[in-house]
Symmetry: D3
Subunit: 340 residues, 6 copies
């Protein structure tokens, strides 16, 4: 089988530690032919470190010289849209970091272009590859949950405003806790509901702690340049009357330093995802089921493999361009609701 | 001091076990002069048991013969409105069971009539009298919470559809889990926010389990006559951007058989109500504060005493007619939203 | 419906506290017409206490005067056989305390006579009526366990040699821990296997601690008159290759003061009875299922009701005369094996 | 002191990771002069890795060229007998992996030949070297246990059918869970009783799960080629009336993924081995004794050292050829009993 | 046997709930003939309640009319000395509440008078009768502790200043936490050391919290009239170099609301009293021994019985007059040290 | 900025693993120019390992050739005094290991000489740099504790007599558990009280276990050459009536193998140091405050940095020469008291 040629766009940690190692473990299917970062030195250092043939500072040059089959985009959020559009125009499959884009229309355009070009566009929501999520989807398929009608999803940090990167810069990131953390659990919640288009969306954002400053648990942040929400809550309804309650925070006066979970309520059974527990009836009695031997898996490796499956037309669990567009629309409506 | 003359309307458990015993413990302020129940035999038995002078089957008769200063209304929900209006017209203070009424306009009319008559109208939300709630309000007053901007409130039963009474009858109760359980924690959440008028309200109701039947933990229920929601969720926003997430259930595939709690998030501190825990910063470090010696109190006794305080023009923590009208409006808007 | 007439034979604690109260709760089906104890004073006192019409010291007199439909035998073990035979000869259904008899042949004769007379003979193994056992049998019926092939059953006390009664008297009781405690869990194990006739039986009995004396947790015992086994272990196999490991002790150097449990291993699932836990596979993963809301029940009331069902030809979960004969044979073979 | 010359027969994991490292740590007493594996390449690679002078594919060649003082046999079970006999004939002490052999007569012949040759034959049951077992034997010697009369021994895995090696091949391994796991705890139980010859043996074997397939926790196995028992239980009695209850499983619907323990019941005290707890009487009260500071030890190193002690005529705790013959007889009788 | 005639002096709770019920349970040895309280009405009510023949307001009258064999003194601390002296002069054995007196010289005089009269004088330190203390003394006798050389003893309440009685009145009580609580654990510590005369005594008392006021857990106290110490600590040495560290508090910013314990350190073993744990070496390893089945006992009944034993010249575990004198001397020296 | 020149005196573990690595991490302020150990080979090896320019066996030579600005003294206790005096005479700042000296007068002389020379003398009590202690001092400063009036401090090992070094040699170490362990927690206790001069000191030392021998948890020790105390307890009072209870042990029959903690009692709040818990009143209720996110820090690095701050005249938390003199006086008075 011919190897797929892959290029990496973006030279930061997520390229170095997540995407490149995952692709290299899948060397029977794919070969990394180039990396591209605005800073050519950084680009070259990364190529050297991972024994990648080419390094670029300019994507146009990359496409011209290497003609990759697929690109992985791991740049700051504001670049996802233009770089994805360019890659699709160049005939490449695209594996883009989350969130899809800054604006809903952008994500819609990205999905439409991929479809019209017959290319795969996917987003890197790796939590889909946890053993817990795989089990949830199997329980759903096996009918153990019945109809799912309500989901509580949260990704809360107590004082986890990152002390590095652009996380508090609104222009580059598009938002704060919702954009960075909330999207992960919202994507899962939407999967459980078969990714429906939302009916109504109501939400709020807050920035009391971010703007006041204080003790940080993920480094120190500067309250003077804190531009995004430190917390967001939302309620989303769907035409079939299902609903999602969503909470995300960089900073909140809550118990745990990091608390990420979903509760999925169905007519036959309900699940708490971490640790996975199924609440149902069995043999005529109320039963709580635990699964003590779920395996920890390399979720990035599995998600990258799922993307490659999609590129090759196989069934895949990766987040599609279409799903990304729906997700981005919900995010945008939450922010709009918060500004009413 | 002259004793206030009290009459009890409604002869069920809540009269027998809650209101009459509480009033009798407050015998330095109040004397129960009559009970009134549709069934005269029941009425007389109750009067005999508690050594109350008069028993009636007809409220008009009651007012004519006894001229009470105050009445306690502990009848099914659909009678709260007409009986309260009658009592106010008769010049009586009214202590009415929750929820205020079946419709928002009714609760509004009740509040307005009380105001115009210069009488006290109050609702029996006893959770306000727990030591935990008193401590929450003291923390709020002492500035330990800063600005409160988000509240999660839930009152969830796993399989707690009552196997007795009218709880599944929509015409008499007006609703299910939200009307019976959710109102308690919603009232507290509104107190924490100083009982503002809501901005937007979005919600849903469900009845999968109620209609399917199954194992009950509070007796058995009949799925064939189950007319109300077994669960409801809602999101409520306020002009100052604060928000409430509300969940209530008679039946839900969740872990605990009964789980009733609030999380109150403020800019300086956050509180989980049961067991009371304060999450804040102290001496420059993130701190968790517990209060291991909070007393269990007789919350009905305290709430009845608070009502008597209100009748006598003293400061009181009882739920006022005005607050009841705001609460009922929110309930109604949740049900309306669920029917969209 | 005509009430069944019941007579109680034996005037000790188990009559007073277990059987009489249970029968009186079932007063729509049965009426206690007489009690009979060797000591007429005791007999009369018991009759007075429970408002029973007749008291006897002699069973012949009882049958002559009262002609009961059924008798409950709650005398020491060595009387079970003669009194049951007499009652059956008198045409009465018999509800006999456990163990069935001192010898296997006796239990066999009792079963045969009941059969030939067309009467109900049953033994009072109340653990069959626990919610846990009912659930085990439902799991078995629903196929959740597959083929059951091995059972570990134990009823162990650390220092529970009773300081009262005849428990250490071999002639009256027939044995010690196995006869008094082991029979309970052996009966359950046999039920789980559909009460097969055993293939091979191997066992041992011990009396080190009973004969040495020491600290007692159920009163003090006299090592000088200790005649029975303080512990017994056995292994029983069946024609279908299933097997039971049985342990029983009045005294053993083990952790708990009282430890009574069964583990039932099947091809599809395994169960630990107390607290009830099911170990199986679900949705392709190893799963542990707990049932947190099993009810505590009045097991004597349920077992007496089951006996009455049997008397009336209804399906019943009570231990039959035939089962008692199989059980007694196993007990006898364990004691014989221990004496090899 | 002259160094003993050792040869390793078998080139698998247990040679590589256990025996060779242990012997190298004992370099003041012993020198490894050769390794021998059927596959000469494997043999040479192992010799190179551990800096051993010679590598062979043929044992005859090994003996001819190297004339070792002792050999360590770590080949599959079916080779233990012929290779041990050859080694003894060559005048070598033998340290053989467990179990001794496939048949009881073989183990008996091995023991007899060693005795007649005046050589040491020992089996590698390393659990004897745990701190817990050493403490058990000290408690026994100090009289803290009195007479030991019953032992429960189990080595249970929930889904631990190895996904590698020959563990499910009956011809090569001679059996399944009993042969591979049960022997370890049976050896300990026999030690506690001073290794008596058994009186009666009754047992069963099962293969429901192994033949049905399912989720594995030690790799995946092939149910189609599963030829051995996945579980076995047995009861063994001795002339002094002591008894052992034995359970072993590769697969069983039980709670723990791996549960290996012994309970030793004596007239003065009882011990649960892991974690070591002594149940006894002290100062006239029932007492539970724990030993919180037992050391973890390198049990292979200690057992190899014990073998070298035996070779040099010193007191030793290693399992002797004579003990191995008794053990193998019990194993054989369990399998015979299961086939009745 | 002739019954001893007992009189009760003091009509408060401790007479009513502790001493009278205990004496009545010992009716084969003793008969209560009279009660005496300053308030004759109170005295008569108590006599009536317990069916006691005589009631007095004046002790002289009591002695004249009833000539008791023994008296139980349960009046406030300041009356212990004069009433004990009077009783001894009247030829009565005396069972006096703790502490012995307000001053060391008083306690010395009381002991001397009892000795010279040949009468029993004892103090009611009931903790000596707990199962734990009995076991401690047995361990000591059996040599399990070796030489005892250091004891930590504490009786700490977090906010346990009693809201009733005279506990904060220095003139009537003689002191606070040390006098009321510390004496109990000091008495035990002295018992463990065979009640030696102290060598050096150093201590302190504090009253910060008592004088500041705040939240009470045993009722509310008045900081304005708080005259005693709310906490005291001390160090006591003995001629044999043993030492005691003592802490007592009514109020202290510590974790538990009530924490009462002793740690006894000996050369062979150390004991923590509640729950009783022995730390020692066994079979060559460090061992922790627990005694899970110690019985809860009626410690007042046992202590009263011990007093009666002493009166009848039998061996007794009750606190003697001589011991009380040593104890009181230590208390006095702690207070003196605190005032340096 | 010019680098300070540092010399290391003493070539053992604490130089190698603690002081040299800490100084090298502070390379912007300080440069290690020499090491000096009695054994020149050891000295050179250490210098080579850490790339230090000079190695000496003689301190005089060191001072002559290198003229350091500061020296770190990490030799056995008996050398602290002469080597510190020499260093100060040479005009060097001194960072000396704990304890300050063998005698109080020596520590006083060391402090006086440093003062008169205008040099920094400091002792290496690193526990002052734990996050817990920093938080304690912040709580104190913020007034959360009020007046501190009693401290319990202990550093207890169950069987932790070191099996290496000079720890049991009285002439070289000056003492045992108190000198080696007790000083750490005593220094903290004195800090909490602002390092007052003591009023009274009473103490004891014991050596039962050390002289008897037994199981060791930090290697084996030789009871025949055990010259120091294995445990010491003391009580120290101060002019302001505050008091300290101190306990230290190498060996004690207690629960934990290592237990090091302080309880600090103040009028407004009390603190248990590990894990840090504050007991106080908040919002009118008794409150327990925990700080779940305190960081583990490199306490040697922080303490060395604090010493450098002191050398440079900045505020510092290091233990000063003056404090060391007070501490040593208390230690000496405890030993004197124990010998009375």
């Amino acid at each position: 089988m011919t190897l797929l040629k892959a290029a990496i766009i973006g030279g930061g940690n997520i390229a170095d530690n997540n995407h490149i190692p995952a692709l290299k473990q899948l060397s029977e299917q794919v070969e990394i032919v180039a990396v591209c970062s605005r800073d050519l030195n950084k680009s070259r250092a990364l190529a050297d470190k991972h024994a990648i043939a080419h390094a670029f500072a300019d994507t146009a040059e990359l496409y011209r010289q290497c003609a990759p089959d697929l690109v992985v985009i791991c740049t700051p959020n504001y670049l996802h849209y233009p770089q994805t559009m360019e890659a699709l125009e160049q005939g490449c499959h695209v594996f883009c970091e989350k969130p899809p884009a800054l604006a809903a229309q952008n994500a819609r355009d990205m999905a439409n272009l991929a479809t019209s070009k017959g290319l795969t566009l996917a987003y890197n929501f790796q939590l889909r590859q946890t053993s817990e999520w795989a089990l949830l989807m199997r329980c759903k398929t096996d009918g153990l949950l019945g109809s799912i009608y309500h989901i509580k999803a949260h990704f809360l940090r107590r004082r986890g405003i990152p002390g590095w990167g652009y996380f508090t810069n609104k222009a580059m990131q598009g938002g704060g806790a919702l954009m960075d953390l909330g999207v992960h659990v919202l994507d899962l919640a939407l999967c459980a509901l078969d990714y429906p288009t939302p009916d109504q969306v109501l939400g709020n954002t807050y920035d009391f702690i971010g703007k006041a400053g204080g003790k940080g648990l993920m480094g120190s942040w500067n309250p003077a340049t804190f531009e995004v929400e430190d917390a967001s809550t939302a309620y989303i309804t769907f035409p079939n009357k299902a609903s999602i309650m969503l909470s995300a925070s960089f900073a909140l006066n809550t118990q745990s330093d990091k608390d990420r979970n979903l509760e999925i309520f169905g007519s036959k059974g309900g699940v708490k995802l971490f640790p996975f527990t199924l609440h149902t009836e069995l043999a005529g009695e109320l039963a709580d089921v635990q699964f003590p031997y779920l395996e920890e898996t390399d979720i990035q490796l599995k998600n990258t493999a799922a993307f490659l499956d999609a590129c090759q037309g196989k069934p895949s669990t990766v987040c599609t361009g279409e799903q990304g567009a729906i997700l981005q629309e919900i995010i945008e409506r939450i922010y709009q609701s918060a500004e009413r």
